[in-house]
């Protein structure tokens, strides 16, 4: 029952493949170049979807290089569902192994930042109540459990991915210097914003996410990062809609 579809699909993403048999233009002539309309549509629409999905990678590569990369990517990883908002999950691993770009080591983590920003954008509006001073006080004495807000995301990188993001999207931002960075993405209303996390805060939040209470999370973060300072972390995180009572 599937022959027309299988032969159509096989030629669709392979420009070198012959046009499938049984396709005709006007006056019963072989379809020839007409088949290329579908080839072009698929490549164009998926390339545009990837441009929209990876604004930081697009910025770093420029349109020409990005589109060439995207056209390799979409042949290896065509979408697995009709939801373009989910397309491109394999981009970090693809970029890490893409021979033409392996000298740009931070690209894979920048793709990860783009994916996390998009996930935050589409995350639920309603969630647990935001963190108030009294809730924080309860958590500090072990009477409440904290976790990440549904629209918040975290990333850890050996590259300065926050500085790279800021340098590409904010005016007068300083040029990135080589260093590892952890990033927290928050969504105050509908627009996700990345912020750089102080040292050890990633480990502290991760411990909270894994169910540790306030004090245990503190101990775990210190064990991972001796320079972790809870007051510094709280000052960086609490003003934002990042933590909630769970």
């Amino acid at each position: 029952m599937t022959p027309f579809q299988s032969s159509f699909r096989a030629a669709l993403l392979d420009p070198a493949a012959p046009v499938p048999d049984g396709l005709i233009g006007p006056a019963q002539a072989p379809a020839g170049k007409r088949f290329d309309v579908y080839r072009n549509n698929v490549v164009f629409s998926l390339t545009m979807a990837l441009r929209a999905a990876f604004p930081l990678v697009f910025r770093l590569l420029g349109a020409e290089k990005f589109d060439l990369m995207a056209q390799e990517f979409l042949r290896v990883y065509p979408p697995a569902s009709p939801l373009m908002m989910d397309y491109g999950a394999q981009m970090p691993q693809f970029l890490a192994g893409f021979s033409a770009l392996t000298h740009v080591g931070y690209l894979a983590d920048c793709a990860g930042l783009d994916i996390a920003m998009r996930a935050s954008y589409h995350a639920p509006n309603a969630g647990p109540p935001p963190l108030t001073a009294s809730a924080l006080a309860l958590a500090e004495i072990g009477q409440a459990q904290l976790g990440l807000a549904p629209s918040a995301r975290m990333l850890r990188s050996v590259w300065p991915i926050f500085d790279i993001w800021r340098f590409n999207f904010e005016q007068d931002a300083p040029k990135p210097q080589a260093r590892a960075q952890d990033v927290l993405i928050i969504r105050p209303a509908y627009d996700p914003v990345p912020i750089a996390l102080p040292v050890g805060a990633f480990d502290w939040i991760t411990a909270l996410q894994n169910g540790a209470d306030f004090e245990t999370a503190h101990d775990l973060a210190l064990a991972q990062e001796p320079q972790f300072n809870l007051a510094t972390a709280l000052a960086a995180i609490v003003p934002h809609p990042a933590l909630v009572m769970v």
């Binding site: 029952m1 027309f4 007409r34 579908y38 065509p78 979408p79 009709p82 939801l83 373009m84 589409h122």
Partner: protein, 282 residues
Amino acid sequence: MRDQHKGLPLGAGVGFKPQHFNEITLDPGPVDWLEIHAENYMGAGGRPIAQLEALADRFAISVHGVGLSIGGTAALDPAHLARLKHLVGWLKPAQFSEHLAWSTHGAEFLNDLLPLPYTDATLARVCDHINLVQDTLGLKMLLENPSNYLAFADSTWPEQDFLAEIARRTGCGLLLDVNNVFVSAVNMGTSADEYIRAFPLAEVGEIHVGGHEEDSDEHGAPLLIDSHGKAVIDPVWRLTAQTLERAGPKPILVEWDNNVPDWATLRAEAGRAAQLLHWQPA
């Protein structure tokens, strides 16, 4: 909250683009209703859902699916049907429509509306799929005619008859894309006027118009591409007017999905559609 149960108004609609949200709300002009692509509103929340909730308070909404692969040979994806049921369930749109096309093959979604041969076997399969969609969503859907760049040598049904038979067997309505009719007729060397005259116009619940690009094939024959990337050309407006003369007034949608213009330009295009409708004899 607007009552979506009344269906689409007999007026002009546009495909909603997020960048027009504020202006649509402040200055809708002749725009009576909006169409959204279902798959863009299947996330859990955020701005897309918030905007859609706000728009549905004020405008009739037509949900236009681009991902069901109704013309495909495989069974419809139950996960995608469930997402659609969720969207239609909370939004309760005035209309739901999809395409006579396929886009999924195996585990891959190809993000284009791909053609199928018109045979007894594909007819039966498409009808099974539409029955399942209508039963699952609990509504009467519209099925849209495609833009053709080529044809299958083993097709045995003219497209109009194929669509009419689908409507007869499943009880679905039809979405007549007049630009697609124009594009297909030029591309296949047939008559758009004859297509419209043979089309089951009584089943049409909505009309689409849009812009296309001009190219040619390797023999120098014209090859129009349904790009939705520019203004509707006059011959397509004329064909639309002729269609309305035969069919009576129908909701008309202006599709502009690529190179999206500013709101004033899109609103003016919708104005042309509204003028055609208001010129209809009472």
